[in-house]
Amino acid sequence: MTDLLLVENLQQIFGGKNRTHAVDDVSFRIPKEPTIVSMVGESGSGKSTIARIILGLLRPTAGRVLYEGVDIFTGDRAWNREFRAAVQAVFQDPYSVYNPVYKAERVLKIVIRKFGLAKSKAEAQARMEEALQAVDLRPEEVLGRHPHQLSGGQRQRLMLARVYLMRPRLIIADEPVSMIDAGMRASFLNILKDFRDEQGISTLFITHDLSTAMYLGGEIIVLYQGRIMERGRTRDVMHDPLHPYARLLISSIPTPDPQQRWEEALSPNRFEEASHSLPTGRERCLFSDRCPDVMDRCLQARPNLGAPDLADSHPPDREVACFLYQ
């Protein structure tokens, strides 16, 4: 069976003289079964660039993105139209996606018109109300209002209502909850889970906030400087991270429980200030300069992503790019 989405050896290099490897040989798949895949990493780890490539907004330097087995940059017009309906985006900023001059529901009306989702005005209205209910918005609190009259949480859920109208196969959500209030985050995440369970819609959820990834479950991909360091089921990775970077990242989550505080102080990055003495080049483990378990090998070659070689049996579908496990 072909995958819903297959990302193969994706590479994105920006700039002429000072080349930046934003994405460096990234491969992963999203299966046909409805699922949520979280992609986590700090700023600059390449996660948004990957999202833009998958959405077809950016052509990669190398590598391919296959949607149901077809390269997304080779499709004809009809295929592109279908692809654009099947893969929907939700972006970070719930303010800048709206035109402030128009009423907020315009984002729903355009979709209904462009994709011919309703035959009459009454049907269009019914469609809109159904979509709003699917994202826990009362029609009267949104319809007829302008974007500035809605909160960030309402605006972001309205984007999900728009997605719901399209009934896509896949949502690419790039930091969708980082600008909405804590109280509203859980509702937004619940909608994504409901979409998966009730509508069969998968999500690629991009975030720097590991606690939201934990709540969503599914699978997780940990990125660092454009490379995948570790991937596997979210539960497995969060409870037993293997890669030293994943361990550092997960132990740094500020757990909202005063009984579970950070214990020892984290030593500052050993090489952070000494940028000139840093090992350079990319034919090494990119985390080697911060890694507490660094070995000579780590500076000489790049570790490939593969199943970890562990004494006891490891959970299925787990991959890590670290010489400690090879």
């Binding site: 700090e42 109280g183 619940n190 990242l249 740094s252 757990t255 909202p256 102080a265």
Partner: protein, 327 residues
């Protein structure tokens, strides 16, 4: 022990041509010497306005309407920060009061070296060049940065390092009180953890008192000793960090803590409704339209903050002394 800072009836608002819209209303809050107090709330609840008001750094159209904030230092001296002359205030700033506003890591001057920016205020205080430079180096050490950094320009530093330079500058005079507003919001989790732990170490080493303003319940749980929960311009509950997280009393605090996403298996619900803006704060308790436990009195009378056990305050009619039988 008397409070280091005693805030009484602080009210601040936004001035328009006709009227003043209150943003922060009637805040009473004690800050104990040597503690880390976390002020939490959703965006727009007035927590940054409260911080700026204490520091007397409100800018038009923000105006201070009433209240006092008494700072007690050196055993017997007390100063009302809200009614002090600019001149007297300047004597306190930096030596006793330090403020790290939101986004200040982006306020370093790009064309000046770090040293010049860190020693500027120290030289103003009458320190010699050598003394100022030594102090700057000592302050950088507190945040795990090397002295070498004094020669760099801001663009050569990462975001986390710039934030550390700002913190170092703020603590270089060993201030009594530090107010830190969202200092780790733009940073990744690893850097956030390092900076918060350094801040806690500064409290231990310098004996400073810290007010940390944040929207992130995780940050509060990790480093605060006590927590004040703000909603719609008011402080609705104050208590120790363990009380607030284990037994929140105010329905808003309860909702805030219940809505934290945790493990995938346990579904949590968000707080229903939206926080009001200062232009439409509801009558009575400001939380009543969203409150699952609302009853008659809440719609008409604003609850006063009342003690609930040692070092615990809550502003909610559920805890009124006489029972709610009259409704």
């Amino acid at each position: 022990m008397p409070a280091l800072l005693e805030i009484c009836g602080l009210t601040a608002g936004l001035q328009s041509r006709r009227a003043i819209t209150p943003v922060v209303s009637n805040v009473d809050l004690d800050v104990q010497p040597g503690e880390i107090l976390g002020v939490v709330g959703e965006s727009g609840c007035g927590k940054s306005t409260l911080a700026a008001a204490i520091m007397r750094l409100l800018v038009t159209p923000q105006v201070l309407q009433s209240g006092s904030a008494t700072l007690r230092i050196d055993d017997d001296k007390a100063y009302d920060l809200l009614n002090l002359s600019e001149n007297d205030l300047r004597q306190l700033r930096w030596r006793h009061l330090s403020y790290i506003p939101q986004g200040s890591m982006n306020s370093l001057n790009p064309v000046l070296r770090v040293e010049r920016q860190m020693t500027d205020a120290l030289l103003q205080r009458g320190l010699s060049k050598k003394e100022a430079s030594d102090r700057a180096i000592a302050a950088l050490e507190l945040v795990s940065l090397e002295a070498r950094l004094l020669d760099s320009y801001p663009h050569e530093l990462s975001g986390g390092m710039r934030q550390r330079v700002i913190i170092a500058a703020a603590v270089s005079m060993h201030p009594t009180l530090i107010v830190a507003d969202e200092i780790t919001t733009a940073l990744d989790v690893v850097t956030q953890r390092q900076i918060l732990q350094e801040l806690a170490a500064i409290r231990d080493e310098l004996g400073a008192t810290i007010i940390i303003i944040t929207h992130d319940m995780g940050v509060v749980a990790q480093i605060a000793d006590r927590v004040a929960v703000m909603y719609a311009g008011e402080i609705v509950e104050v208590g120790s960090v363990s009380d607030i997280f284990q037994q929140p009393l105010h329905p808003y605090s309860q909702g805030l803590i219940a809505s934290i996403p945790r493990e995938s298996g346990q579904r949590v619900e968000g707080l229903p409704g939206e926080a009001p803006s200062p232009w439409n704060y509801p009558a009575g308790c400001r939380f009543h339209p969203r409150c699952p436990k609302v009853f008659g009195r809440c719609r008409e009378h604003a609850p006063a903050s009342q003690p609930q056990g040692p070092d615990r305050w809550v502003a909610c009619h559920l805890y009124d002394q006489e029972t709610a039988s009259d409704d």
